[in-house]
């Protein structure tokens, strides 16, 4: 599969994403749902659990940078 296909996928935060924290998002990918370690794409944003996020960057193997999908 193509790595670039991760970018743009939507996911849900299962562990709070924020500065100084290692967050976790679960993303539907490869016919299943996998979780990735997540960091905020824009510096100081704190994203609580349950928020829908979009993957803006993918660093193999298991790291993504996310931003909130909707203005909350």
């Amino acid at each position: 599969m193509d790595d670039a296909s991760m970018v743009g996928l939507m996911g849900r935060v299962t562990g709070t994403v924020g500065p100084g924290l290692v967050g976790e998002v679960i993303v539907r990918v490869r016919g299943g749902a996998e979780h990735f370690l997540a960091y905020p794409a824009t510096g100081t944003v704190r994203i609580e659990r349950g928020t829908v996020v979009m993957v803006v960057e993918y660093l193999p193997p298991r790291t993504v940078y996310v931003t909130a999908a909707y203005d909350s």
Binding site: M1, D3, G15, L21, R30, G32, L37, P61, R62
Partner: protein, 495 residues
């Protein structure tokens, strides 16, 4: 020939079997929970850069050249590692933590490649390696937490786990699905002490609740006992009442016999008393008859005799007195009668004379009074009549002289005629001829002779004869319709 055919057929079958065997040796299929790592020939590898030297196949089949390429399987299954770690918390409390880590090889090719390079020959020892890694990490994780956090704040524990192990495991191509802390052994009793206040409070509440429940139960019990005692008391009171009634009835029943005896005896005594009374009564009657009646009779006899004697004497005295009285009365009456007669006679005479004198006087007085009254009345009437006549005449004259004169003439016609007729006073009986006319003429003449100023009257008479019946008193037959030829007219001499 058939033998050649058989050999050819056998060879073909063998060849097919060999081909199938070769294909089976060359065609390898990756099961869902494993990845095939194929090395040995240069291949274009999907998802990996050039120079890796092997390719990864997941979920499908691929052709492998036996002897040229090596195929190894890497399991993608879940693994778990028991953790037994002695560690010290943030507060410096030593704990023995028992937990489990659940991990697997990542599904992406990068993770599979990393894991393949590290664990391909040591898949059995993967758990041990991970345990060693995690033992150290868990110490650091627990060192960053307090006991309360570990017990209560799972989010913080998982967050710390990710922070400490996430990147570490990325290097190994593994992902941690779960870290569970099963058991925390607490040799210093910290957790127990931690729970103690709450336990004490709970125990206190429990005891309070228990005591309250006991109190309520006891209250209810005591109330119930009180009610029972009350019911017992009421019942006993009722029973005593009934017993008393029974005793009363029994006593009454026991007294009934003696009472009946006494009543019977009383009846006997009453009857005996009655008999004695009757006896006494009879004796009294006897005595009355034997003693009292004869004595009474004797006394009555004596009394009657004495009374008779006394009455006789009284009667004699009375008769004598009466006789004397009557004689005196007769004498008196005689004298009185004589005197009364004399007086009466004298009185009668006097009164008779007085009455006669008085009657005479009264009669004379009455006569004189009557005369006087009559004269006065007559004079008065005359004066009044004249005054009235003068008044009427004056008024009549004021209004209609002729009519008044005519009226007056008519009213005074008899007098006028009389006056006129006084000329005939010496005539005894006069026969008038020529009916009414003749009479009129004669009257006219007489009137002419009789009075002055009678011209007017004559004129009036003439007019009356022409017009209407003459006034009454002259003659009713003056209307001249069926007048008799002659008639007698009585002439009064007296006025």
């Amino acid at each position: 020939m058939p033998m050649i055919v058989g050999v050819v057929a056998g060879v073909a079958v063998v060849a097919i079997a060999v081909l199938i065997g070769l294909f089976k040796m060359m065609w390898r299929v990756a099961e869902p929970n494993e990845a095939l790592i194929i090395s040995g020939s240069k291949h274009r590898t999907e998802g990996l850069e050039e120079g890796m030297g092997f390719r990864i196949v997941t979920g499908r089949g691929t052709l492998v050249l036996p002897g040229v390429q090596a195929v190894r399987k890497l399991s993608l299954d879940l693994n778990e590692t028991e953790l037994h770690v002695d560690c010290v918390t943030h507060q410096g409390i030593p704990l023995k933590v028992r937990g489990v880590v659940i991990f697997k090889v990542g599904d992406d090719f990068v993770s599979i490649a990393n894991a393949g390079r590290r664990f391909l020959d040591q898949q059995k020892m993967m758990s041990e390696r991970v345990h060693n890694v995690f033992a150290g990490h868990l110490r650091s994780i627990v060192g960053g937490l307090t006991v309360e956090d570990m017990i209560r704040d799972r989010e913080k524990l998982t967050g710390q786990t990710r922070a400490a192990c996430g990147t570490e495991m990325e290097k190994l191509g593994l992902i941690v699905d779960s870290l569970q802390i099963h058991e925390i052994e607490d040799p210093t009793g910290y957790i127990q002490n931690l729970a103690m206040p709450h336990a004490a409070a709970v125990q206190r509440d429990a005891r309070i609740a228990q005591a309250e429940a006991n109190r309520l139960a006891t209250e209810a019990e005591q109330q119930s006992f009180a009610r029972m005692a009350q019911a017992t008391r009421d019942s006993e009171i009722l029973q005593a009442g009934y017993q008393a009634e029974r005793d009363k009835a029994g006593a009454k029943a026991r007294q009934a016999g003696p009472l009946a005896d006494a009543a019977a005896r009383q009846e006997v005594v009453v009857q005996e008393t009655r008999v004695a009374e009757l006896e006494a009564h009879r004796r009294e009657q006897q005595l009355q008859a034997d003693v009292r009646k004869p004595a009474d009779a004797k006394a009555y006899e004596k009394r009657t005799l004495a009374e008779g004697e006394r009455d006789a004497r009284i009667s004699a005295a009375q008769a004598k007195a009466k006789e004397t009285e009557l004689a005196a009365a007769a004498e008196a009456t005689r004298v009185k009668t004589a005197a009364g007669a004399e007086a009466e006679a004298t009185k009668s005479r006097g009164s008779a004379m007085a009455a006669a004198t008085r009657a005479t006087g009264e009669a004379e007085a009455a006569a004189a009074q009557a005369r006087g009254l009559a004269d006065a009345e007559a004079t008065k009437a005359k004066g009044l009549a004249e005054a009235e006549a003068i008044k009427a005449r004056a008024s009549a004259l004021a209004e209609n002289q002729e009519a008044v004169v005519a009226q007056q003439l008519a009213e005074n016609w008899p007098e006028i005629v009389k006056a006129g007729a006084s000329a005939f006073g010496s005539v005894d009986n006069m026969v008038v001829l020529n009916g009414a006319d003749g009479m009129a003429e004669m009257l006219a003449k007489a009137l002419t002779m009789g009075g002055t100023g009678l011209g007017l009257a004559r004129q009036l008479l003439a007019s009356m004869n022409q017009n209407a019946p003459t006034p009454n008193g002259t003659s009713p037959s003056l209307n001249g319709i069926a007048a008799p030829p002659s008639q007698k007219v009585p002439v009064e001499k007296d006025v």
